[in-house]
Subunit: 161 residues, 2 copies
Amino acid sequence: MLSLSQTTGYAIRALTCLRFGESAALVMAKDIAEATGIPLPYLSKLMHALGQAGLITTKRGYRGGFALARPAEAISLMDITEAIEGPNDNASCLLGLETCSDERACPLHRFWKQERQRIEKAMCQMTLREVAKFEAHLMKATGVTESQSKGEQAKTKSKSK
Amino acid sequence: MLSLSQTTGYAIRALTCLRFGESAALVMAKDIAEATGIPLPYLSKLMHALGQAGLITTKRGYRGGFALARPAEAISLMDITEAIEGPNDNASCLLGLETCSDERACPLHRFWKQERQRIEKAMCQMTLREVAKFEAHLMKATGVTESQSKGEQAKTKSKSK
DNA sequence: TAAATAGTTGACCTCTGAGTCATCTTTAAG
DNA sequence: CTTAAAGATGACTCAGAGGTCAACTATTTA
């Protein structure tokens, strides 16, 4: 009845597989697909879109892959949702009534407006970091051994591309 | 981002045009379509479905039309939603995670479960009567004279369409 | 019984989200 | 320079929601 689109769920799950930190910690689409069960070809397009939206950095070719464009705690679920579904218009009436507004509200208007705000607030406050902690997909990254603890995210250079 | 299906909105609006009470107060699909702006052929199928679901009674042929199967205050928005969208599974994770459950909950699980319950409760408590009062579509019924002229929208073609 | 009225029903159309495939292009290793 | 690895991308398929048409059936009245 009420939920995010399947693709948005995919995006959130895929992003939990990534790390922040330059070229050292790239994760490949193939590994994300394997870990999440998201079909690889579809994932590929999804990742590209997330790159366009500025949430991740992408590197093509040999030893390519994906990484978060900023720390996981700086990416909210709202950021992800809007990147995939576009800015959500919070003004719509639950019943689809054209005539419903703050001035002339349908019986559900006040209730629904409050609920929407609660949900939006939660989506803005919840970050990738917390979801990733729950998921705990310890992805293997190209060029990086598993031995290193997840505490340090390679503070080598900064930025590329 | 979050809303009912368009068809469910149609159903709610269409039902606000109907009355409870036997053969005396039948309303025709054509009039509902005119009042709500819902395309007639689509409305026709919708009404049939609502009849199958037991929310309304239908009468075919000359002087046919539709009427509520029970009083408006005895029809909740949840009844309508379920009639159209089927029983809603309240168990699904907002993120679409398979592994999310009461036992192993994702970061949004508790919050989302509460929200769902709040929304469901509101949908169960809100009845057609209250929505109809807001909408105030004073439909004309077959076999009933317009003499009441209670509203301003007598037989003027009104707008829309 | 014939005609008019009004709901019923199946075929078909369009659009969008989801998913697949094949073929690019880019990048680094050898 | 060649090649293998990996992301990018356009064409295509598929299913479901929403919507349109036309033919059909049921009901009442003249």
